[in-house]
Amino acid sequence: MRIGDFRASYAHDEALLATPVQRSWMIGFVLLVLVFPWIGGSYLTYLACLTGIHLIAAMGLNIVTGYAGQISLGHAAFMGVGCYTVAALARMEIPFYLALPVGGLISALVGIVVGIPSLRIKGLYLAVATLAAQFILIFVFREWDSVTGGVRGVNVPPAQLGTWIFNTEGEIYYVIMACAFILLLGARNLFRTYIGRSFIAIRDKDISAEVLGIDLFRGKLLAFALGSFYAGVAGGLMGYFYRAITPEHFTLTLSVFYLAAIIVGGLGTVLGAILGAAFMVLVPEALRGVVSLVTVWAPNAMALLSPVREMVFGALIIGFLIFEPHGLVEMWRRVRRFFHLWPFKT
């Protein structure tokens, strides 16, 4: 039960971690993240790295679609732009802490270009425009042999800090988690500022926002730019993680995957991006575990894994949209409310 939680100043009211309980949970969580590779083992660390990458990308999409209301079906293509940029820079021996931001910036520029139609069209039409952009970018990835290696793809040298090479899952984990932490903090902060609130205004009713004096064009383009920046950094991290990248990594399926992640997690919240990404990484793994148990009775079950995974994916999207449109975050809030009010009911 929460008692004695008084906000005596504006700063306190706006603070991200307002109560001592929240602060201690956060410290505990950070400690857990730091020691995870040692207690989890390489397989779970692999999953954690993947979650971290998806987290950053999902947060980017959440900024564009969840907060600013611009539906983007091309998010995976922006990741690809960032990834290929980082790959090219890394091959030129540029260290990762420079390559990643530059990759994000190039991706942001592409995002601005793709976002230009958003002035004239919105909603469904904008979604179709981003879909077209996704396919066109994939075509560019496949054909622009000199930069992207075409269908063959590129090999990304590992991230390096001085002489320390981030070769294994355990090592790249820290790079990914550090980036995730910084970017998520940035996103959370963004929505305490004017720019963030203008995004929310644009989403809710953009004509009214324009009447209030918010520059729509700048706002929408900035949303696309930021979302693509996050996607670009996530793509670069994906490059350092997988070390071998082909255009097939950035298909429409991945864009849909991220949309599903933020819908399942919760549109328009930072926690939603985290929960959504974690959920979408863990569900296929859990499914695989279930299928390998079922293999004891039905030996050919493994062949059905991919189709069943797709079915579960589709069913999850439909299920969450019908039953829990605000996503896992809403379920989480209900749990928190229960504990805040306990032993009272309402």
Partner: protein, 401 residues
């Protein structure tokens, strides 16, 4: 509490419980030799992937049954579908490597093999193979831990071009069209093939690139009809869209054209799927077909095991044969290393692989196998007989460069 909330909670609980099964799947018995694989069981090449998967799996089972594994250690086959998608293949690869650190790994495609080559060389613990016969990866220096159980795609194209060259009538060289898929697999031998055609004075009159799976080929057939080639070489497909191409071309009046393919489109089911248009389908195959059991004890064993273990298979496919052969090469490499009392590391396995210069594959490959160059550089041209519905040899066993 409403029934809806109740249902949601139980689903959440079930998901949570099933997540506990995660650690269980990584349990393995000490001493087992893990043979890990990411075959394309679903997706565009499902047709081939299912057979590959079964062949490799069954070899491991047979080896455990008949010879107690390798040096007394049982082979444990662990595979997960890659759906012929690069990202899925890479993630299965990383996952299985993290969970089991297998000494041998079988991938799913040319794209994967080329992409993972750098990673595999750096890790240095695993010998790999895959359905890919791409020329770039048959390089013992640059790609030390990869081998292919056949000749490179470029070599296969050379064999076909030599055959075409031999069909020249009255000093006029035949014309050739190349139809290939827009994948790493498809594109791999094309430059080399065009170069060899130029050397031989054969004119490549048309070059068609398509998506690998089923696709609307009418416009492409129109282009081929304009070019009027004598021979058409298909590469980069397993089944679709070859039958559709051939059917439409025959309907368009190209009755004299001879169609040829490379290894993965030379299975009985591919030729049968072409219907009457399949008569005369030719191509290069590095192995014996499973009906060709004369002087081939390994083929006999394979047929017997397949019949016992998988009675629903009427005819053992070339994909199964390939999987079986790869399994036997993996086992042979590991046996050579363990017999010399050395640990199963990349360099040791590479040395063992390269020591197989005169290895008897039991008849699956027509000539004794030399893996010094990390490939089996032999093959034969076969022709499909629509009457017997079987492939018959149209040349002797050829050693390629």
């Amino acid at each position: 509490m409403s029934t809806r909330r109740h249902a949601l909670k139980s689903v959440a609980a079930a998901t949570g419980l099933s997540a506990l099964s995660l650690p269980l799947t990584t349990w393995s018995q000490a001493g087992d030799l893990v043979v890990a694989a990411a075959p394309p069981i679903t997706g565009v090449f499902a047709f081939a992937g299912v057979g590959l998967n079964l062949g490799l799996n069954d070899y491991c089972e047979w080896r455990n049954e008949a010879r107690g594994g390798v040096m007394g250690r049982r082979l444990r086959y662990i595979s997960e579908d890659s759906a012929y998608k690069m990202d899925q293949a890479m993630s299965v690869f990383k996952k299985l490597m993290a969970a089991h650190r297998p000494p041998v790994f079988y991938g799913d495609s040319t794209a994967w093999a080329k992409a993972a080559a750098v990673e595999v060389s750096q890790i240095g613990t695993t010998m790999t193979s895959s359905p890919s016969f791409a020329s770039d990866i048959a390089d013992p220096e640059k790609v030390p831990y990869y081998f292919m159980a056949g000749p490179t795609y470029a070599s296969m194209c050379y064999i076909l071009l030599e055959y075409i060259n031999g069909q020249a009538k009255g000093g006029v060289k035949p014309t050739v069209a190349l139809v290939y898929s827009d994948t790493e697999f498809g594109r791999d031998p094309i430059e080399a093939a065009k170069g060899r055609a130029k050397q031989l004075g054969i004119n490549v009159v048309q070059e068609i690139v398509t998506k690998p799976g089923s696709v609307d080929v009418s416009a492409e057939v129109a282009r081929l009809r304009r070019a009027r080639p004598d021979f058409v070489i298909f590469h980069g497909y397993v089944l679709a869209p070859i039958p559709e191409f051939i059917r439409q071309m025959r309907e368009a009046g190209m009755t004299g054209t001879q169609f040829m393919g490379t290894i993965w489109s030379m299975d009985k089911s591919t030729a049968e799927a072409m219907g009457p248009a399949g008569e005369g389908w030719m191509g290069v195959m590095p192995y014996r077909y499973s009906h060709d059991v004369k002087d081939a004890p390994a083929v006999v064993t394979m047929n017997q095991f397949a019949q016992k273990r998988r009675p629903e298979i009427k005819y053992v496919s070339t994909f199964y044969t390939h999987g079986w052969l790869v399994g036997s090469i993996f086992a042979e490499i590991m046996e050579r290393v363990l017999r010399a009392n050395r640990p199963l590391t990349g360099p040791n396995m590479k040395a063992a692989l390269e020591s197989m210069t005169d290895w008897d594959s039991g008849g699956i490959s027509g000539l004794p196998v030399n893996l010094r160059g990390h490939q089996i550089a032999t093959g034969r041209i076969y022709r499909f007989d629509a009457g017997t519905k079987l492939f018959e040899p149209a040349s002797g066993w050829i050693r390629t460069t």
